[in-house]
């Protein structure tokens, strides 16, 4: 359990090697080993979706994976979504801002990762709204998040 192992990852486009106990959760590797604290942990039970990252192109709960399970994986976290240009936001992030789709901001990263993954994989608006169903937000009542998804799909001509 406390045996350590080197795990090779590509995180936000950068090759990383972390040496961690085999039991370390991927979410803890991202947050505490790599300092990518934008990924939040809301339940460690795989339900709330706050810890969602994009793993080899698909959204995944980083609290449900042990680090060695991610050996060789390409992981994208919230820190990479907006790109590097100053002030830049992904269209969904921009819509979340303009339409007040976040309040405390704790669940937000996971929702952004899910919706960005849906957008990239060509999901329809209805599919993206269903994907939002995998997240718990306690502040917003979801109304403005749905509006932000609709706005994004409209902007992107989907």
């Amino acid at each position: 359990m406390t045996e350590r192992r080197a795990v090779h990852l590509v995180v936000n486009g950068e090759a990383r090697v972390v040496e961690v106990e085999c039991r370390t959760l991927l979410s803890d590797v991202l947050r505490h080993t790599l300092g990518l604290t934008g990924t939040h942990v809301g339940c460690e039970q795989g339900v709330c979706g706050a810890c969602t990252v994009i793993w080899d192109g698909a959204p995944a709960r980083s609290c449900l994976a042990l680090a060695p399970q991610a050996e060789g994986a390409t992981i994208e976290t919230i820190e990479s979504v907006a790109g590097t240009a100053p002030g830049a936001l992904h269209p969904f992030q921009q819509a979340m801002h303009e339409l007040h789709g976040l309040q405390c901001g704790f669940c937000t990263a996971g929702i952004v990762m899910t919706i960005v993954a849906a957008e990239r994989s060509g999901q329809t608006l209805d599919e993206a709204l269903v994907a939002l169903g995998g997240h718990i937000c306690r502040c917003t009542g979801y109304v403005n998040i749905r509006a932000a998804i609709e706005h994004t799909w409209q902007e992107l001509g989907r």
Partner: protein, 771 residues
Amino acid sequence: MSARYVGRRIPRRNDARLLRGRGHFVDDIELPGMLHAAIVRSPAAHGIVRSFDATAAVDAELVLGPAEIDAATHPVPVLWTIGVQPQTATRVADGRVRYVGQPLGVVVAASRYAAEDAIDQIVVDIDDLPVVADATAALAPGAPLLYPEYGTNVLSAFDSGDTAEHTDAVFAAAHRVLRHRMHLGRIAGISMEGRGIVVAPDPTTDHLTIWSSNQAPHAIRDAVSEVLGLPQHRIRVVAPDVGGAFGLKDHIYDDELMVCLAALRLGRPVKWIEDRSEHMVSTTQARDEHVDVEVAFDEDGRLRGLRIDAQRDTGAQFAIFGGGPLFTMAGLVPGPYRWDAVRTTAKVIASNRTPLGAYRGFGQTQAALIRERTVDLVARALDVDPVELRLANMLEPHELPATTRTHITFDNGDYPACLRRARELTAQFPERPDGDERIRGVGYAFYVQMAGIGPSNTNQLIGLCIGGHETATIRMEPDGSVRVASGISPHGQGQETTFAQLCADRLGIDIDQIALVFNDTDTTPYSAYGTAASRSMPVGGGALHLVADKLAAKIRAIAGELLEAAADDIVLGGGRATVIGTNVSVPIGTVAQRAWQGFSLPAGMEPGLIETAGYDPLSATFSYAAHVCRAAVDPATGEVAIEHYAVVHDCGTIVNPLVVEGQIHGGIAQGLGAALIEEVVYSADGQPLTTTFLDYLAPLSASMPNVTIEHMEIPSPYTPGGMKGMGEGGTNGAMACVVNAVAAALPHVADRIDRTPLSPSYLWELLQSNP
């Protein structure tokens, strides 16, 4: 001064940081040499700790058990004393366990993983005592006592409103009396970020810095000072980004105090982060109330009397505000209607459950549910339209201000217009889908919310030992940019934006010139509440108004000197101070530079531009709303869908409609959740059965309809700026509205509904037994 910013839908200024993953929450804090804590919790619901043996936890840096913790701590004060209340403080560890999950000790190790490993090596021997499963069991003759020294399981008992004699007379004179009972299910607040704390002692200065996920840094500082015996000026409490609080994080918890103690012992920083299962047993919960309601009314539909006997199962001990939520329920239960008598008798009862505390609504949600459900029962009994019945009994604008039978004076507004408009909005509800056989009903609720709680003298009068005021400090720098510090402690409510909107208008400067300072006892003025009780905008914003006007007066005086005009003839706007009716002006930044240089200031004026103002309101403020929604019930499964929802409300001056609407949406989700699906469940032996998000159901996107919102905007006569406060309103209206809609869909069983949540299984059974 024209409003350039107030009233505008300005997206929040702090969003981008959170959207990019650059927030700074408590678990994001890393300090050199930091250790990690885990909490030893009781697996038993009731018992006496015989031994706490940590000898096997060899990898732990420190273990503290109940005896050491008790010896090193003073009791935690309960700040509200109501009626007959034997419990006015609670010990952090007194050798007994009273609920599953109660913290017994703390383990500190090199990592969170190692600390949790060490927990398994600690042997706690508990002698079981008979379990007091709930309030009913607690009141049974011969029930075991959680606190034998009190001689009772009743932690507080009080009456509210009219006398028994007056109420009896009103009931005797009325044509009819109806009775019903309700159990309001226990719910958990479930902020998406649990609690967490980082404690960093500085051995060289004897200062203690605490970062914690909280909503009231000064209150937490005060409690740490009291419990650990440290002077307040050597403790700094910071709330970093906070992932939701909803009342849960308004006080310090025993486990957090244990972490403080451990950090002090070790002289090193220690972090503790609550996990979700801990949250579901150790963070304060809400409701768990049983009410017997009697309503007296006349054949013509006139409401006469309301008599309530209420019991609140407050769990194992009082949190900071004791039985306050039940007291608040009793105070606000009259609502917008004329009554001849309103009386509540109440008991707050200890049982072997997780302690209750503050949660969005703080009793006002229950007040609305009890009253609005009762009004619907009367309407059904008289076979009259529930909206017409409400309108016939509702205070008209000309009757305001009006004092309730519970001695609360509502300020102003137009309640009937609000309700009528909500009824009109149902015309916009979408048509029932073809081929859908679900049964539909439309339900209404109306509430008047006591927001902007204060003044301090009222708190004193009702035994609530905290000040009801707020303070703001404002500092204009020599370049004309402004820093505003306020004691409120936002955590999602958007005051980084809305306070800047208010301030920019008062000073006539650009909003980008204003930065806000919150959430830190070292840099903000004192506030007993932080952000809670829907009072940040009416009371905190009131203080901001006053201080900005003080600063503006000084700017005008200096500008007058510069422009050779009277201060009264100077107006501020567009970043300039201008002689009224002329184009003679000077940039406000130039005035600020002059103020700090101290050159040629008006005679006797202090240099600099710093002002502070305290605002103790004349009265609380009273926002109100009408909620209406349509429920579709599937009789085959008991499942309820809320198809559409509309709100018409008045919270006085609206600083930012985007933020206000967001608060309403979120509040509705929480009220809807409590009405339909959320419930903390215990086994008969006090074991919690809902400790994950798979067992405790929170509303998901599919549960939440879209919401039509219309604003009325009748400014408060009290608050500078006219804001009334509204953060809890959505919750207050939604629970009652949803219950009434379900009842309206099921008229043949409507009067038999006697609990929340209206879960599918509950409704299905109700329908089966009443076909």
